[in-house]
């Protein structure tokens, strides 16, 4: 059973690492995190029309001195692969990706499965360091270090949030 406090942990991890600017194309899972951010007057959350727009927007925010995180489903990773490669990796512009993982354990929708299985390989192919914590303990053990690495390397990093952690979406 997923611990329902996972979403508050994710929101707190981002905020305690000085991230206040967020972009999103919401899905059922990341909306639980967004609710904490929407409720926080210090946080700016921009809902974009397509995930790669969020990549551009948060890259601009970083160039203007602000850290940013993009909250999306793994389908959105497919939508922003080229922007991550040619803007963030080539230009050494860090961004924190928070990706809800559909298409893996417990998935009910066949259309989600191929991108779900491709999520890790796509991140690896872009040399984006990522973690997939399956429990709150793992999340807390890895999170600050992963975000610190993003700004040390000046490159994107990704949290892939599996159904074991979040409860996923039940069909």
């Amino acid at each position: 059973m997923a611990d329902p406090s996972w979403s508050k942990h994710v929101a707190d991890i981002l905020r305690r690492n000085d991230i206040r600017t967020f972009a999103t194309v919401p899905d059922y899972v990341v909306t639980h995190v967004l609710e904490h951010l929407w409720a926080d007057p210090e946080c700016r959350v921009v809902t974009v029309t397509r995930e790669e727009e969020g990549v551009g927007l948060l890259s601009g925010a970083w160039l203007a001195g602000r850290r940013g995180a993009l909250l999306m489903q793994n389908s959105g990773l497919g939508n922003c692969a080229n922007a991550l490669a040619s803007l963030n990796v080539a230009g050494q512009i860090p961004i924190v990706l928070v990706i809800s993982h559909r298409g893996d354990l417990g998935e009910f929708n066949p259309a989600q499965v191929p991108m779900g299985q491709a999520t890790g390989p796509v991140l690896d192919a872009l040399a984006i360091r990522w973690v997939k914590p399956s429990s709150l303990a793992e999340l807390e053990a890895q999170a600050d270090g992963l975000i610190k690495l993003a700004y040390t390397r000046s490159l994107p990093v990704a949290f892939v949030l599996p159904a074991e952690l979040t409860g996923g979406k039940q069909g």
Partner: protein, 195 residues
């Protein structure tokens, strides 16, 4: 038949450069960045080299993070057509310090001049208005462009200014120090005192 465009991208870039002080200028990959580098290279220019379509979104992120600084984005018709949703986000966030200028030559110039949708029936200023950007202008002459620049550098935005320009490639080569230019820009903007 539409009248052929007489303004050139270089002349339009020069007219903007004459007016610049502490504005940020974000330029699209290819021709827009090449013109800007050659005519008015400056640390507050943010050149882009890839991520086609994202220029207006990068500029929006800068404008939202630094509401005290005017941000002018020089995009292309082909690139904006790849990210039309950006116009909706600009309208929704409505940053007063944001102006999107489009060099609309109706072709994909960098890749050899293949026509875009604006060569046929699509009108980017009308699309911007439909997205909810009230101050959406179309400019065809130098006099109209001067007036548009005066407005975007003084009035509250957001603005979208679609500039019909002639086709034609810039001479010379782009300086592709991707990381170096990004760092120079970030530093220059950080050094600009918050007003």
């Amino acid at each position: 038949m539409k009248p052929p465009a007489t303004l050139t991208r270089a002349a339009a870039t020069r007219l903007l450069a004459e007016r610049l002080t502490t504005e940020v200028v974000v330029s699209n990959l290819g021709q827009a960045s090449l013109d800007l580098q050659q005519i008015a290279d400056r640390p507050l220019n943010c050149y882009t080299y890839g991520s086609m379509g994202q220029c207006s979104s990068i500029a929006l992120g800068i404008a939202l993070a630094r509401p005290d600084v005017r941000v002018v984005c020089l995009d292309g018709d082909g690139s904006l057509l790849m990210n039309l949703g950006s116009l909706c986000t600009i309208a929704t966030e409505a940053p007063r310090n944001y102006a999107l200028v489009i060099w609309d030559n109706e072709v994909h110039e960098t890749t050899g001049g293949q026509p875009t949708a604006t060569a046929a029936r699509s009108n980017l200023a009308a699309i911007a208005r439909g997205a909810g950007v009230e101050k959406a202008l179309e400019v065809r002459t130098e006099e109209e462009l001067r007036r548009a620049y005066d407005r975007i550098l003084r009035e509250d935005g957001p603005f979208v200014v679609n500039v019909k320009v002639a086709t034609g490639r810039a001479e010379g080569r782009l300086d592709r120090d991707v990381v170096g230019h990004a760092r120079r820009f970030k530093r220059a903007l950080a050094e600009l005192p918050v007003r």
